[in-house]
């Protein structure tokens, strides 16, 4: 199967994903409160970088909720930056959203990590953002790449760019990744396990880690949780290096293909630790990192399927999603 055919296969199979209530459950309960907070802080002028899919549901939903700036004619999103690798999906997004702050047709990892990339300067010029939503539609450390994968480097680069452009700006990172053990790099799993074990060697982390099985068993028994801890710790590490305190606002997990694999979503806040023009305080930063890891170990991911199973919740989510679906259907986006 050629790459064109496999891309088309994926696009076709994803045609009904835009009505997915699980995803929207997280938008409502995990992402929207963060948007509302930033909208209040910035008087509505929330700067948003997203890897939205062709339907751009997140963009449309937050605009409809009034927390992402959009023109009255719905043809301009002045503070929106999006990056889309697939040229056809890029076309759909660009044509139906209208004018945005910047739209790039490329792979985010390529644009951010390759300084020679023709779009690198333009994208870097849009930083800082208030919210960065990275849905990588796949594994963070895929089999075909090194443990220190391009995706991992990309997360690190995003954090460093935010700090470089405005170290005083608090912001949020939304991360979405797939936890499919067979697709994941085993060497990366081993390294993550070792890192977790090293953490647990410190006595003060143990109570927070609680009754979870040890990392080696967690890796085999609850891979989504293993990866959630591992990736969040990595974000906390990147945050610490750039002078931020990471706070895990929430995390979410739901199954796909009858549990064959899971999707994990992380909502992390990054708060600057250093005052403007003040010297970095290593002790404060180390302390913040330890606090972040401890809080992470104390945290649990919300099971989206359980949440949706509660009385009336699915109906409420569906109702909330309906205006977005109507907009998408009106634009005839899904058919192409």
């Amino acid at each position: 199967m050629s790459s064109f055919q496999s891309i088309q296969e994926r696009r076709r199979s994803g045609r009904n994903d835009y009505r997915d209530l699980k995803k929207h459950y997280v938008r409502i309960n995990g992402w929207l409160p963060v948007f509302e907070r930033h909208a209040r802080l910035r008087d509505g002028a929330v700067r948003y970088l997203t890897l939205c899919s062709k339907e751009a549901i997140d963009v449309r939903y937050f605009a409809l909720k009034g927390v992402l700036p959009r023109s009255a004619e719905k043809n301009e999103y002045p503070l929106l930056t999006f990056v889309e690798e697939n040229p056809e999906d890029y076309a759909v997004i660009a044509e139906t959203l209208g004018r945005v702050r910047l739209g790039i047709q490329a792979r985010l990892e390529d644009v951010l990590l390759d300084e020679e990339h023709e779009e690198h300067g333009s994208l870097v010029g849009t930083f800082p953002h208030d919210i960065i939503n990275l849905d990588f539609c796949g594994e963070v450390m895929p089999k075909k790449d090194h443990p220190y994968s391009e995706t991992v480097k990309c997360i690190e680069k995003v954090v460093s760019l935010q700090a470089e452009k405005d170290p005083t700006c608090p912001w949020h990172l939304f991360l979405t990744f797939r936890t499919h053990r067979v697709q994941q790099n085993e060497e990366a799993n081993t390294q993550l396990r070792e890192i977790l074990e090293n953490n647990l060697a410190k006595e003060h982390f143990k109570p927070a880690y609680g009754q979870r099985p040890p990392p080696s068993q967690l890796l085999d028994g609850d891979y989504p949780e293993f990866l959630r801890l591992g990736i969040c710790k990595y974000v906390a590490f990147c945050a610490e290096r750039q002078g931020y305190r990471m706070t895990l606002d929430s995390s979410w997990v739901y199954g796909r293909q009858k549990g064959a694999y899971h999707i994990v979503k992380i909502v992390a806040g990054l708060v600057p630790l250093t005052r403007p023009n003040a010297l970095p305080n290593p002790a404060l930063i180390n302390e913040a990192y330890d606090e972040a890891v401890e809080a992470l170990f104390r945290s649990t991911a919300t099971d989206v399927e359980t949440g949706l199973g509660s009385d009336g919740v699915a109906e409420a989510v569906e109702k909330e999603l309906r205006p977005v679906v109507n907009e998408i259907d009106e634009l005839n986006i899904v058919a192409t």
Binding site: A91, E95, T336
Partner: protein
């Protein structure tokens, strides 16, 4: 005597393939016309504003099959679109004729992707096209009729790769994705005029087409930059509806023009903005300006047997038509504009001064002018019989006889005089009111009456009128009479009793001499 062949260098074709369109809009306009011909309801273009690095265009038209696409790419310029009739399946008059629309993209970028699917087919295809100019040097030495590259009697201007994939049977669309946009094309679109002169560039207001029109209608579109100009040109040229109240507010005689576009049911969007014809006369900022609309229609059989059919309107207003880009006449062939507004009125030979800046118009040519359109679709072959007939018709309308009895320019002159007269009268009445009030007359206006009977002082104020005897009146030029009467009336009324009559007469005679020499 032996007959020798005449050959054309293949570079002619290679040059054409490198881009023939005057402006960015010229190139993109072809994509809109192709979508219109393909019976699309909607076409959406994205320019990748503000960086202009990726252009995309998607229409929901009939789509193309891989075989049809191969046939198009194998015979660029050999369109068979009109072989089966002059209208599309939905009854739209077909715009494309030659089949070089796809080359319009060559001006935007040298390599691009086409993806298309047709109704009732479970397949779609993607073609990666590379229009490289690498054959140009070779083509300069070659002539048509020789074999170049892989084809006989053809010039190879590029290559493409085609792939197929599964698609929903009901999906139908064509999508173009253009990356690596030509540097000049990008620079042109990013250009903001006046920055070099130290002037503040005007900002293009984002929003609807109506908002856009409000921004530009005070002066020119050009001063808002090339991007604004592109939006303008696309709106003007595309077979889409007029903005509200266009083209001439309240003019019912132009309903046919309005309804023909709504019947097409064709919408075009550029960067999310719905294109509408940005033609709304008179421009609202001009207030209740005097204006006239002259609907026109013409049908003529040409010497070759072709029939030229024209309908449209010419428009005049007392004051400049703005934005400046609306000044002139726009010729539409099969509903699509050929070039922009022609301020010379197809080369109208007489000097008409300011009147051209007060006029606008559109001529819809539904038949008989296709052959005259140059391949850039921005100009005409002026020796074509259809063009000559249209030109004569326009000149006749402007200068010669019209259905209304006189040429439009004659009508405009008469209209202008009438307006000027009315304006003068209003002004005089105002002055008369002031004068009557100053004299202290109970009359609402100054009335000047002359009398053959001598007045001792030459002037009297009687019953609200200033009466001048013939002796005094003869001393005053006609055009100064009212002013003279007002001043003398005031003197007569205010100080008349204090001076002897003879003295007053002498004073008035001296005053008459004074106003005469002023």
């Amino acid at each position: 005597m032996a007959r020798e062949p005449i050959n054309v260098a293949a570079s002619v074709i290679a040059d054409v393939s490198a881009g023939i369109y005057r402006s960015p809009a010229g190139a993109l306009k072809e994509l809109i016309s192709n979508a219109f011909d393909a019976d699309a309801s909607t076409i959406r273009l994205s320019t990748g504003w503000p960086e202009f690095r990726t252009f995309t265009c998607t229409d929901d038209g009939d789509g193309i099959t891989p075989d049809h696409f191969k046939s198009i790419m194998g015979h660029i310029g050999g369109s068979t679109k009109r072989d089966s009739g002059e209208v599309s399946g939905r009854g739209r008059p077909l715009v494309g004729r030659i089949g070089i629309g796809i080359l319009s993209i060559a001006q935007v970028c040298r390599s691009f992707t086409v993806i298309s699917s047709v109704r009732n087919s479970p397949k779609k295809f993607q073609a990666q096209i590379d229009l490289q100019p690498y054959l140009l040097a070779e083509a300069r030495r070659a002539t048509l009729g020789q074999s170049i590259g892989t084809g006989n009697q053809k010039v190879r201007i590029g290559e493409y790769e085609i792939e197929e994939a599964e698609e929903e049977p009901d999906a139908h669309y064509t999508r173009f994705i253009m990356k690596n946009i030509d540097v000049g094309f990008r620079q042109r679109l990013k250009d903001v005029p006046h920055t070099r002169g130290g002037l503040t560039p005007k900002q293009f207001t984002k929003g609807t087409m109506l908002e856009f029109l409000k921004t530009v209608e005070a002066s020119t579109v050009a001063e808002h930059g090339a991007y604004a100009q592109m939006i303008w040109e696309l709106g003007v040229s595309a077979p889409v509806e007029y903005v509200d109240a266009g083209p001439v507010a309240g003019e019912r005689r132009l309903d046919e023009l309005r309804s023909r576009h709504s019947a097409f049911d064709f919408k075009a969007f550029v960067d999310g903005v719905q294109l509408l014809k940005p033609i709304r006369l008179p421009q609202p900022s001009a207030g209740s300006i005097e204006h006239r609309t002259y609907p026109v229609a013409h049908e003529a059989r040409l010497p070759s047997g072709r029939v030229l059919r024209v309908t449209g309107y010419l428009y005049w207003q007392k004051g400049r038509v703005l934005p400046r880009e609306l000044q002139g006449v726009l010729v539409r062939v099969r509903n699509v504009a050929i070039g922009t507004y022609d301020a010379t009125y197809m080369g109208y030979p007489h000097h008409e001064g300011w009147k051209f800046s007060q006029m606008s118009g559109e001529l819809y040519v539904d038949d008989g002018l296709d052959q005259a359109v140059n391949i850039d679709r921005a100009s005409f072959r002026e020796s074509d019989e259809g063009f000559i007939e249209l030109q004569s018709f326009l000149f006749e309308k402007l200068k010669g006889g019209t259905d209304e009895g006189a040429g439009i320019f004659t009508a405009i002159k008469a209209e202008t005089r009438k307006i000027a007269r009315a304006k003068r009268q209003v002004e005089e009445e105002r002055k008369d009111r002031l004068a009557a009030r100053a004299i202290g007359s109970h009359a609402k206006q100054l009335r000047v009456v002359t009398s053959p009977e001598d007045r001792p002082s030459g002037i009297s104020v009687e019953g609200g009128a200033v009466v001048l005897d013939d002796g005094i009146k003869r001393l005053v030029p006609r055009k100064r009479l009212r002013l003279f009467a007002a001043i003398c009336g005031l003197i007569e009324q205010e100080v008349g009793a204090a001076l002897p009559r003879a003295k007053r007469r002498e004073l008035y005679e001296r005053l008459a001499g004074l106003v005469k020499d002023l």
